[in-house]
């Protein structure tokens, strides 16, 4: 009897996983609409400002013609950029109550919260059904890890308005979780293998997932930072070359205008990355202690250990890059991107296809 009861509990969990995925997919759509609408809004604002600027410039020119002085060419394009940046940087730090009412972003966030509730439900029921922490095979890592990504994102939203990362976060989770479910990675509940019966399972794996969530957000910010940096570059270049205000140059997706400056994005990305790095360092140390109990050596360059080390060194490189002249800015952003790519690689490819002692994916 208890058997079938457990099974139903797990199938309830699976049902909630699918529900969560569906709701996240809707959230993704809402966030995507939000970005598209921001583009439209930004273009409208641009048009309005453009007209204003033409008047100003015309006035300046007539003045210049009269006074014989040169009007500073293109200065106004840069001024607009700076003004946009100031607004966006302030918006980034605005408390939730004082944020601009991007209606679709709000819908996206509400849906994300809803999906998260199902997600937590799925995770908790899985844990209860299994009678242990729900992160001891690949299916469960994915379930809990993605849940933590959403959790960290939602918590961070209380402090920073990062809703522009909503498409990325929900998209990532839909792909990971959907991939796990569709890719046949779901496994039934089986008792833990002996090496996993350890408090370190609870600590080490949980902290690693937390680090992953923080790296994910840093990654998203670094990507946006790169896009924003390119736009700023183009605006500056256009401003320098245009003697007169002329046809607006294409400077990338319009929603970027409503986002913080690349510098603000960079320092925020850095803050998440160092938090992630600290958790990762802890993961590394805790993993060594566990390995020393389970396998009789604290370090043996097992494949999973190698990748944990590689990721650690990559992020150490990122932290250094931030402090190295000539590397701050887009180069260090690339390192954050490479670092997170390695994290994902470690979680997917290394778990599934590399041979090693960490053979706990639960797949055969």
């Amino acid at each position: 009897m208890p058997d079938s009861a457990l099974l139903t509990l797990d199938s309830v969990s699976v049902l909630m996983v699918w529900t969560a995925i569906a709701v996240y997919a809707l959230a993704f759509i809402a966030y995507a609409i939000d970005l598209a609408r921001r583009s439209a809004l930004a273009v409208d604002a641009q048009d309005a400002k453009g007209r204003e600027r033409e008047l100003v410039v015309a006035g300046a020119r007539s003045q210049a013609a009269g006074g014989g002085a040169d009007a500073a060419p293109g200065a106004s394009a840069m001024d607009i950029l700076r003004a946009e940046e100031r607004v966006a940087d302030a918006a980034l730090n605005a408390s939730p109550a004082r944020r601009s009412r991007h209606i679709w972003a709000r819908i996206g966030t509400s849906l994300t919260v809803l999906g998260f509730l199902f997600h937590v439900g799925a995770d908790v029921t899985r844990g209860i059904a299994a009678g242990r922490v729900p992160w001891s095979n690949m299916y469960e890592f994915a379930l809990t890890g993605t849940m933590l990504i959403i959790a960290v994102y939602l918590i961070v939203l209380l402090r920073y308005d990062l809703r522009f990362l909503g498409t990325f976060i929900t998209g990532l989770v839909v792909v990971l979780l959907g991939g796990v479910m569709l890719g046949g990675l779901y496994v039934e509940i089986v008792p833990l293998m002996d090496p996993l019966k350890s408090v370190w399972l609870v600590i080490h794996v949980f902290v690693a997932s937390l680090a992953t969530a923080l790296f994910a957000i840093a990654f998203g910010l670094s990507v946006v930072q790169l896009m924003q940096g390119r736009r700023e570059h183009k605006v500056a270049a256009a401003a320098a070359s245009d003697s007169v205000v002329s046809t607006p140059v294409k400077t990338g997706p319009g929603f970027l205008r409503t986002l913080p400056s690349s510098e603000a994005l960079e320092s925020l990305a850095y803050r998440f990355a160092i938090l992630g790095f600290i958790f990762w360092t802890f993961t590394l140390i805790a993993g060594s202690i566990w390995a020393n109990d389970a396998w009789g050596r604290y370090w043996g360059f097992d494949t999973k250990e190698v990748w944990t080390f590689v990721i650690w060194v990559l992020y150490a490189g990122y932290i250094h890059a931030r402090a190295t002249r000539g590397w701050r800015g887009s180069r260090s952003a690339w390192l954050s991107i490479i670092g997170f790519t390695a994290v994902l690689f470690n979680f997917t490819i290394v778990n599934m296809f590399f041979k090693g002692l960490h053979a706990y994916s639960g797949l055969s």
């Binding site: 039934e188 833990l192 360092t281 109990d293 190698v306 590689v310 250094h320």
Partner: protein
């Protein structure tokens, strides 16, 4: 002022993002030999080199996860050579099977650590001085700093402007000191000011972190010399004595004295394991392995000990790990006259999760010819479609031992060591199974069968204790243990934790300077608050705002203008 270097600043390599560009970098004067050395050293200890070496280290570590490594997976390497006979030797030439001991990998991390030491030592010296230095002079124009607030305070009552100003500065100094800042007064003419600095712990943390990494490396490197690992197999009821003789394999570090191992012994009383019952999820999955041991240190009373997965047994500074287990069927072989020529429990190697196990028996003496037996033990024998057998469950439900007999030369007299788990049948004649038409021997516990050619008999002993049910306990178990001594592990842990603590301080303690400057202007005081971040400090502006707020509140200030 904001980015220049002064006494209190942490010293950074010249290409640190915060450092002022050094004119010497651009115009390169003619260099002598010493000049070149100095130049090379500066390159090696620069941020850029450290960064490049870190990235190289990350890249260089990857191949070790793609190709099996001798250290972690020696059998994998052997298999790789078999599977890729052309490629493997080439890869081997590049040390691809020993990546982490290879010259190129070592070169990268050694250079990195030299760079690190070269970077950390001057910084430590500098920091030591900075720790004893006073906070720097108040800049002339505070409004140019990263964070700045200004306010005007009416002087109330009878106090004259100078007294009020000095009172206000003292109040600020008091508040800053209480908030953990180191403070220093600097007064120039009418302007009174206090200069405050905090966050020396940030640089301390950073230095501790880097130095601790060196500690980890040294502990790992030197510790290896004092480390040994050895493997042994103990069958239920038998005793292992901690001498070289009783190990099946032993890998000592360079400084280990093999003759002076800790004198203790371990007796395996019982090995227990539970299997997931048939009909449940994960049926047959093994768990809760425990080796129950009687332990005895020379000259002391025996004690009881347990070895479990994740819970090694500590024994006189050694750690004892449970690595594997299996069945060790007891067989007795008698010659044609009924005299016992062989009677032993023989460990069989498990081949699958249901404990289908492979084993070899060698009878060198007592018979006309040497005898070798190879066979399988099935704890729960079931037939396959092909007619062969397999085990369907790892516990003793239907235990069967099936053996084939070979006679001839075992090849063990020439002194060449042979594995106890393999039988070299090159110089032997097959007597049963295969094409001989003589059926293989099949035995359940307690049964006896005749050997072919009237050589004698073989008995599969039933080792079950009195009153056991079914076949429970009818076949002995054995455990393989791994015994380690690693004196350095503790040190590695200590340095790793130090590094972690340093990391927290180095990344989270804000290092900043704050200034409060008070100037009397007629019947009011002009007060400025300013802050300067040293390194990442997202909360600087808030800190200056808070300082202005607190100080203003204490003064009873009205109007603030930024």
């Amino acid at each position: 002022m904001s980015r220049s270097r002064s006494d209190g600043d942490p010293l950074r390599p010249a290409d640190h993002a915060d450092a002022v560009a050094d004119a010497g970098e651009i115009t390169q004067p003619a260099l002598g030999f010493v000049g070149w050395l100095r130049w090379g050293w500066r390159q090696l200890t620069s941020m850029r080199t450290a960064l490049v070496l870190l990235l190289l280290l990350a890249i260089a570590a990857v191949p070790g996860s793609l190709v099996p490594q001798r250290g972690a997976d020696p059998n994998g390497v052997t298999q790789y050579f078999i599977d890729n006979p052309d490629l493997a030797p080439i890869l081997d030439g590049f040390s691809m099977f020993d990546v982490y001991a290879s010259p190129w990998f070592s070169a990268i991390y050694l250079l990195l650590f030299i760079s690190l030491i070269g970077c950390v030592i001057p910084r430590t010296k500098h920091h030591y001085k900075a720790l004893r230095a006073r906070p720097p002079r108040t800049p002339a124009r505070l409004s140019r700093l990263d964070a700045h607030r200004a306010t005007s305070v009416e002087i109330t009552g009878e106090t004259d402007a100078a007294t009020a100003a000095s009172g206000a500065v003292e109040l600020a100094a008091f508040q800053l000191r209480k908030a953990g800042y180191r403070v220093e007064r600097y007064d120039t003419g009418a302007a009174l000011s206090v200069s405050a600095e905090r966050g020396y712990l940030r640089e301390t943390g950073n230095l501790v972190f880097h130095a601790a990494l060196v500690g980890v490396l040294l502990a790992v490197g030197l510790g290896g010399g004092f480390t040994y690992t050895g493997q042994t197999v103990i069958i239920e009821g038998r005793t292992f004595v901690n001498t070289l003789l009783d190990y099946t394999s032993f890998n000592p570090g360079r400084f280990v004295d093999e003759e002076a191992l800790e004198p203790y012994s371990l007796t395996l009383d019982e090995f227990s394991v539970t299997y997931q019952p048939v009909g449940e999820q994960g049926a047959g999955q093994a768990g809760d392995f425990v080796a129950h041991l009687t332990t005895q240190h020379a000259g002391e009373a025996p004690g009881a000990g347990e070895v479990r997965v994740n819970h090694p047994l500590e024994m006189a500074g050694d750690r004892i790990y449970l690595m594997g287990n299996g069945y060790a069927p007891t067989m007795t072989i008698r010659d044609a006259d009924g005299d016992v020529v062989f009677s032993e429990s023989v460990p069989f190697l498990p081949q699958d999760t249901n404990m289908t196990s492979l084993g070899v028996v060698k009878v060198p003496d007592g018979l006309a010819e040497q005898l070798g037996l190879v066979g399988f033990f099935y704890p729960t024998q079931v037939p396959l479609q092909s007619g062969a057998f397999t085990s369907a469950y790892p516990a003793l439900v239907n235990p069967v031992l099936s053996l084939n007999v070979f006679s001839g030369d075992l090849g063990i007299n020439d002194g060449v060591p042979r594995s106890v788990y393999t039988l070299d049948t090159a110089d032997m004649t097959r007597l049963t199974g295969g094409e001989t038409d003589v059926p293989s021997i099949e035995l359940a516990p307690g049964e006896t069968a005749d050997l072919p050619d009237g050589l004698g008999t073989i008995t599969f002993e039933n080792d079950a204790p009195e009153g056991a049910e079914g076949y429970e306990g009818s076949v002995k178990r054995y455990v393989s243990l791994s015994i380690h001594r690693d004196a350095a592990a503790t040190w590695v842990l200590v340095f790793a934790l130090l590094a972690f603590a340093g990391l927290l301080a180095g990344l989270f303690v804000p290092r900043r300077r704050l200034w409060v400057k008070v100037r009397p202007e007629g019947q009011s005081l002009h007060i400025e608050y300013a802050g300067l971040a040293r390194g990442e400090d997202p909360t600087l502006d808030a800190a200056v705002a808070q300082l202005a707020q607190r100080h203003g509140d204490a003064l009873g200030a009205p109007s603030t203008r930024a």
